[in-house]
Symmetry: C2
Subunit: 407 residues, 2 copies
């Protein structure tokens, strides 16, 4: 049986098959980059039109109450919570992942007086590391990096916070959240997990792992749209001590009292700073609702089946192609990466055939398998194309080698 | 001639009359709250549908380049710049006003080592003051407040930054930007202007006044939609020394090099932190384009004419109603406020008649005259209603007195 026929058979038996039709996927495109920007849920179009035309246009300022805009950060956060193993009042949707990182790093420093180091791994997603540098320049933190197998040994008395990305953006390797959280706690440190590459596609059990803090991205597996608001989690036990420096009016206990003195709102509400971005939050809510409807368990199962189908077939047909991701699907995210010196040109050659994966500097080819809408047939066609391109040296053409300013 | 006839005559001669039709204003509503949330430009509906359906849905990840999403913060900032007396490369659209305030307060502290005080006035818009408190809790700043007539005397050797809102959100009183900026500079301090209640409706001359920093709101006079991204200005002369703590990947000189070490992008680009909110920025761009098309000079002239028409008539007919705003239109923003012990109930009684102004705790009735779409007829009808309500004591009904949790 051909690979395509195998794929069609798998699609026919796929419990999530119907959900693909609830996304707007362009004709002639195989989209394996939902781990960078999730696809558009069809329902988002009508919802955004409603927010713009009815809630903003007709309701105007009244919609802060009548359309309950004022509670959108809590409402969307509360819907994300069960998908990441948290309680609804522990999660809020607001700002960007970067800004939320800064708030929670500062919160951790406040809770661990006398400790200044923020421990992470080199090669973590850059913004995570950069946000520590911002606090370091203010004299508030010290950046400390250790390779992943040396992290536990690096947990000394100066480490206030262990800050890691659950699934590595480039390799897809997944940390053992429970084990690392326990090791950090044993060393007196707090833990912050960046769920950008796991939330909405993989098993995340923040409460069970005793995680202290987490942040995550709205525009990847939650399909919230380009630059969607992010989310932040703070374990209930820390709500009393929670203090963060971006003390804006929306995080005030009584924002409309217009008092001169800041008094924090209860719990994660105090993570809010400015006025919530209603268009972005409304689009994110549709994406989150769909992921919740499908259910994380089914998404995980399909994610693993898709990525294994891809990995096994390529391993058979291109045995020399270097796999960067873990072989065991339970050890990785919903993505597979390979290393190739011509990764950029190969990525361009794939795009020329309508297959969108992505390239990460300097030599990584990355393919994401957003389980809500990627079909096995997509995967089979991507395999065939990749094999053809690499075997034919098709990538070795000038048009594919020109480097774009932004990838 | 009746007030309504006078208003109709003024509308007939209004050079901006045609622009009202380019906004979606609900039937039966007189909207005098554009200073809180601007109205919906009709063009925004089609533009947002295009961004969602074509750019996101069809273009997917490619739109960061093909739709130039990656430059939206700079493009929108560059369009706001001439409307606030700045050069295009001095302004960027990003994050919220609150978050931008924190960045620029921290930047000022970095440029004035040895000084810690941030001077403002009590009763400034709360988020401005609260953002100082966040830095104060980190030991980085000291909050210092002085009444407006005592500000210049309060500029001592410890003041790093004078931070003021150009037009007061409650009273509409406008500061003399040139004089206060000069006084601060003479005392060795920098100046940050919050333009939330002036940008897009009033004369703002940041460069001419030698202003160092500014922030402003996208959802008031720029009609960018609920919770629209804000903007930030840094005078060119400070670009070399500019350092702010929210050092996210989008503010990196080469975000897609994914380097472990932060290196700031040139100029105001380093104010970026996370991934830009594309829906919000796209809506904001439409609003800014319309304000730019109408032109600030014409907006100013109409704003003053509208608010004077309102003030003079009420002064004649309700001489006891206490005006909180300056009588001279050149000394105030595009708004008029009155003090009344029953302000809340009066505001509710107006809303019951379809006239939307707003209430600000504890006793302020505030009316905004967004010059792009408010007509003289709106103003005349609001005057008639307010006079009737107050003369008849109509506000003294239980239904208008119940206090909403959020106003």
């Amino acid at each position: 049986m051909s690979l395509l026929d195998q794929a069609k058979q798998l699609d026919a038996g796929d419990a999530l098959r119907a959900y693909r039709d609830r996304f707007d996927l362009p004709e002639g495109v195989i989209y394996l980059d939902g781990n960078s920007l999730g696809a558009l849920p069809k329902a988002t179009k009508a919802r955004i039109a409603e927010v713009v035309e009815q809630e903003w246009g007709e309701g105007l300022i009244r919609s802060w109450n009548s359309a309950d805009w004022i509670n959108l950060p809590q409402r969307v956060g509360g819907k994300i919570a069960p998908l990441i193993g948290a309680q609804p009042h522990e999660v809020i949707a607001c700002d960007s992942t970067s800004v939320n990182l800064s708030k929670l790093i500062a919160a951790a420093l406040h809770m661990r007086p006398g400790r200044k180091a923020i421990l992470s791994e080199p090669g973590n997603f850059p913004t995570d590391i950069y946000m520590v540098e911002g606090l370091e320049a203010q004299g508030l933190a010290t950046r400390k990096l250790a390779e992943r197998d040396a992290l536990i040994d690096a947990l000394d008395d100066d480490v206030a916070l262990l800050m890691l990305t659950h699934v590595h953006y480039k390799t897809g390797a997944m940390f053992d959240m429970a084990a690392l959280t326990k090791a950090a706690h044993d060393a007196g440190a707090l833990v912050l997990w960046d769920l950008s590459h796991s939330g909405g596609a993989l098993p995340v059990e923040l409460n069970k792992c005793n995680a202290d803090f987490a942040v995550g991205c709205g525009y990847k597996y939650f399909n919230g749209g380009p630059g969607a608001p992010a989310y932040a989690y703070v374990a209930e036990q820390h709500h009393g001590d929670l203090q963060q420096p971006l003390t804006g009016w929306m995080g005030h206990a009584q924002p409309f009292a217009f008092d001169d003195d800041y008094a924090p709102a209860p719990g994660v509400d105090r993570l809010l700073a400015g006025t919530p971005p209603i268009l972005g939050l409304s689009a994110l809510e549709v994406g989150v609702d769909m992921i919740a409807e499908i259910g994380i368990d089914r998404l995980i199962a399909k994610s693993r089946a898709l990525s294994e189908f891809f990995r096994q077939e390529l391993s058979d047909r291109l045995p020399d192609l270097e796999l960067v991701s873990p072989t065991d699907p339970e050890q990785r995210g919903s993505q597979i990466s390979f290393r190739h010196p011509e990764a950029y040109a190969i990525c361009q050659a794939l795009i020329a055939r309508g297959i969108i994966g992505d390239f990460r500097d300097p030599d990584i080819l990355r393919f994401g398998f957003a389980p809500a809408y990627v079909a096995f047939e997509d995967v089979a066609m991507a395999v065939e194309a990749l094999v053809e391109i690499i075997k034919a040296g098709e990538w070795d053409q000038a048009e594919f080698k020109e480097r774009a300013a932004v990838t």
